[in-house]
């Protein structure tokens, strides 16, 4: 797919398409009609930040020097404004795979060298410049902090407020401060509602507390 400028990167557009599709799925209310969700999407803070990041990647690949520089300046201005408005900073150097979802804005900084496909970031997530690589399908819960020269594998879940400064293998969960690394094979996530098999849907209230 050409984006109108010869030689510009078609993969950026494909990545943006996946970003938007996943953002529509995960950042808008599934109970609302699809058209309304589509209308809401451009106003979503996290999505705005991702779109501007893709603009930067796309501008970088434009082969005509003068035009490339003009587009990069436009990207720089947009990034600055988006950062003030949304509180989300996605470092220009970070190569991000398709399907990134920033679920909620505020206090988000993403600066590693590489980030894989279909990652998911909540508010208050800080991933420092030092981080080498993040795999595919990695979830960062609200307030997670990731530091140091580390690598994070595929299908990793970094829990809320985890402070992580060690590499994490594939299919693990990192929880706590300092984060403990727990393979997903030794626990089971709670079943989604509807598959509860007659069990109570939520934690029961502690004894002595009335609803």
């Amino acid at each position: 797919v050409s984006v109108g400028i010869p030689g510009s990167s078609p993969s950026v557009l494909a990545a943006l398409r996946r970003d938007l599709a996943r953002s529509l799925e995960l950042n808008t209310d599934a109970d609302e009609p699809r058209w309304l969700r589509a209308v809401r999407l451009p106003f979503h803070f996290g999505t705005q930040a991702v779109v501007v990041h893709r603009l930067g990647e796309w501008a970088e690949a434009v082969p005509i020097p003068g035009l490339r520089h003009a587009l990069l300046v436009a990207y720089g201005v947009a990034k600055y404004v988006v950062q003030i408005v949304t509180g989300v900073c996605l470092a220009h150097r970070t190569r991000i795979g398709p399907g990134l979802v920033v679920h909620t804005g505020s206090g988000v900084f993403i600066g590693p060298r590489r980030m894989g496909r279909d990652c998911y970031v909540q508010h208050g997530v800080v991933i420092s410049y030092a981080v080498e690589e993040i795999g595919d399908n990695v979830y960062f819960g609200p307030g997670a902090k990731v530091h140091g020269h580390i690598r994070i594998g595929n299908n990793v879940h970094v829990g809320a407020n985890a402070v992580l400064a060690r590499s994490v293998p594939d299919n693990c969960t990192a929880l706590g401060n300092p984060a403990r690394i727990i393979p997903k094979s030794i626990y089971r996530e709670p079943l989604p509602v509807g598959e509860l098999d007659g069990r109570p849907a939520a934690d029961p209230l502690p004894r002595g507390v009335e609803a």
Binding site: I182, S185, I186
Partner: protein, 85 residues
């Protein structure tokens, strides 16, 4: 009281997946029963460390150590150095 009984009581009272009537046999598979979620595992590890004065490292976190109450007991005994050869 045996370690597996103590750990079983802890899981039933603290974790348990909202099932106060839960009964746990030493050989019951904890993951398949759904009584240990990710936070549960973390709480269990913290409980084992403080209760038995052991240190649980990343490489200890494997199904062979946490799959059943029996395995947890064997693991704790190994860690405390009390395991029979």
């Amino acid at each position: 009281m045996q370690i597996s009984t103590q750990v079983g009581a802890f899981i039933r009272e603290t974790l348990g997946g909202g099932r106060p009537d839960l009964t746990l046999e030493p050989g019951d598979p904890l993951v398949e029963l759904g009584v240990l979620d990710s936070m549960g595992i973390l709480e269990l590890v913290t409980f084992l460390e403080t209760r038995y004065g052991i240190r649980i490292d990343d490489h200890d976190m494997i199904p062979e150590h946490f799959g059943t109450l029996e395995r947890i007991e064997r693991f704790v005994l190994k860690k405390t150095g009390a395991a029979t050869p």
